[in-house]
Amino acid sequence: MSTLHIVNKSPFETINLNSCLNHVKEGDSILLIEDAVLGALAQNKLADNISEKLGEISIFALLADLSARGIGRDRLISGIKTTDYAGFVELVANNERTQSWL
């Protein structure tokens, strides 16, 4: 019964990720794509809020978008996983629905 939440905006610029985090359910997953991957960077000012949720939900960041912005895999908040477009497809398939936070 879980949901894949897709966030594509930087959490430093818009409230989309925050609003998403306020509405997730235990067992849900969040996929960060496009500018939203910026939020995955360790030691950013929102990192603690994000880490707190990692027990309850899974958070993924799209590798292609991390690379484009010069963010190495070794620089992420501990517990955030990375995935490629094929993994994105499987996340969609493995959750019952998707919700895009636009």
Partner: protein, 136 residues
Amino acid sequence: MSDEVKKFLYVNRKAPYGSIYALESLEVVLIGAAFEQEVSLAFLDDGVFQLTKGQDTKEIGVKNFSPTYRALGDYDVTKLYVEEESLKERGLGIDDLQYLTYEDEDDDYKEKPSIKVVSRKEMADIMAEQDIILSF
């Protein structure tokens, strides 16, 4: 699958007029109403401003589409969930919103309110029950 009735939720998180998403979302709702699916609308974050009463667009020179929300009842779109926290954070109350109603055909066509104010927690529950979530 095509014979099933699916639960469609339209998620509205943007204010009207600053961008076209609110209007074009409403256009999908109106078209979608013909498909006899189970339809709900969610208004949260700045989406709650879509429902304010007294909208007057004369000075910006674009069409005022807020009266269209009043027609939703006639299209059997009767479940409009508005998030309480979103209202409060923006300095709004339920009285700032249009009073929208529908006639309940299962209850002698009594006029009933379409808007239901729900908590953030209830909104999350509503979202988790859907088959299709359309957000623009």
